[in-house]
């Protein structure tokens, strides 16, 4: 596929990210930017199905190179765009569902090309996303569905990490540990549909086991001493797994509320701490892969990564200790750091292009 259409899809994903961040900032008590009061209640789905759904399905379509592969990010982006411009409607939800079905088809084709455990887990993640989108159409609430959306992301990331861990000597004990962790995440996502609190507790345990697995098997824990890009990616990933562990502990201890500061802490430890550490780490690899543009590594990338860790710790601290002003300012800072990181990526691309000339 030509670079321009892929760039358009990526810009659509970034547009959804900015809308999701604006919605999040408003929910945290900040200003109403870009009409966020209209779609603030869809903050979570815009971030997960919109931004992450588009970027993950775009990443897979780029690898697959089949014409219908692009339907996944395109439909997902259009569907979530409808959530923003027309509030929730069955049309938007149906289009997002179609996008997630195409993403599952893509993952199925990847599995057919390369049958292994990693691709099976990623296909399972895609099917979990389809399930959540179906249940949204059946009027299940966001708090009921949030663990299913979380599992879509976790199964995708864990699948990718397993794939890379194949360079290590296989270990039956860690394989068993991961299987238990994944089963717990799956069961917990289903349990939360009926018993929210119980679902979160089981999920928390699954997250802790997943983090222990990563400590033993994720290459990041071996590569963090490497210089340059490889070392940066590894350190970002280790930060992500630390958030996974912390989120698991928070869920075990504080599971229960489906609103308020503790709910905020439980969700954002994973959705921002874990997921965005992974994104900050992978962006210098994935963006060039998608766009076919070389993005040179620069140590300045540690700055937004470090700032994200600091302000997320302050935000979770503000939530758990119910210090409103701390949570507010740390949330605002986090919402600013994410676009600043994207700008730093953009500046590296421009610098690289100007150096070539």
């Amino acid at each position: 596929m030509l670079r321009l259409p892929k760039l358009v899809l990526l810009v659509m994903g970034v547009g959804l990210l900015l809308h999701g961040l604006a919605a999040g900032a408003l929910r945290a008590g900040g200003p109403a930017l870009i009409g966020a009061e209209q779609f603030a209640h869809w903050h979570g789905p815009i971030m997960v199905c919109g931004f992450l759904g588009v970027v993950i399905s775009l990443e897979r379509a780029t690898a697959l190179k089949v014409w219908f592969g692009w339907a996944a990010p395109l439909l997902t982006g259009i569907g979530m765009g409808l959530f923003i411009v027309a509030d929730y409607g069955p049309t938007g939800a149906l289009i997002v569902l179609a996008g997630s079905l195409f993403h599952s088809l893509n993952q199925g084709l990847v599995l057919a090309r390369q049958p292994n455990a990693a691709n099976t887990i990623m296909l399972l993640g895609a099917l979990i996303w389809v399930t959540a989108n179906l249940l949204l159409l059946a009027d299940y609430t966001v708090p009921q569905l949030v663990l299913l959306w979380m599992s879509f992301l976790l199964f995708t990331i864990i699948g990718e990490r397993i794939e890379l861990s194949r360079v290590l000597v296989p270990n039956a004990l860690t394989q068993a540990l991961l299987l238990i962790a994944l089963l717990q995440l799956l069961v917990a996502s289903a349990v939360a549909l009926w018993d929210y609190s119980m679902g979160f507790r089981i999920y928390g345990l699954g997250l802790i086991l997943a983090a222990i697995w990563a400590w033993h098997r994720d290459l990041a824990f071996r590569n963090y001493r490497l210089p340059g890009l490889s070392g940066y990616v590894a350190k970002a990933l280790i930060c992500g797994w630390a958030w996974c562990l912390l989120a698991g502990v928070l869920m075990l201890v504080f599971a229960g509320p489906s609103a308020g500061p503790l709910y905020d802490a439980l969700l954002h430890a994973i959705f921002v701490g874990f997921i965005f550490s992974m994104i900050f780490g992978h962006a210098p690899i994935i963006f060039p892969g998608i766009l076919g543009i070389n993005i040179p590594y620069r140590p300045i990338l540690y700055l937004p990564l470090g700032a994200l860790q600091l302000f997320m710790l302050l935000r979770i601290g503000g939530d758990v200790l119910t210090i409103g002003w701390l949570k507010y300012w740390a949330s605002m800072a986090t919402a600013v750091i994410i676009p600043l990181f994207l700008l730093s990526m953009l500046s590296l691309i421009i610098r690289s292009a100007s150096m070539k000339k």
């Binding site: 990443e59 890379l164 194949r166």
Partner: protein, 96 residues
């Protein structure tokens, strides 16, 4: 073909931190006149880095071999990549 392999050793998998030759991703290299053909695999069929890796391979081969003016790269997943395909250097770097 050793000089082509040496060129390809400059292409590093950014996540694993090891070059694609020692990772065992290069299955075959052949040369006809001014053209080099490389048959390779990837550790992941869902990896979006394929185009970037191929572009770097072309760049290094052409840079190091002024007599070559065309590089063809074919990606296959048959046979699938296995850990046993890694060189002793890579195995050692990854801790045995």
């Amino acid at each position: 073909m050793d000089s082509i392999r040496t060129s390809l050793q400059q292409v590093i998998d950014p996540e694993i931190g090891i070059n694609i030759v020692d990772l065992g991703l290069i299955y075959d290299i052949s040369q006809t006149n001014n053209q080099v053909c490389v048959l390779m695999t990837l550790t992941s069929a869902g990896c979006p880095l394929q185009d970037m890796i191929i572009s770097q391979m072309r760049q290094h081969i052409l840079q190091d071999h002024p007599d070559i003016d065309d590089v063809k790269v074919e990606v296959t997943f048959d046979p699938p990549w296995q850990r046993a395909m890694m060189s002793p250097v890579a195995v050692n770097l990854l801790g045995g």
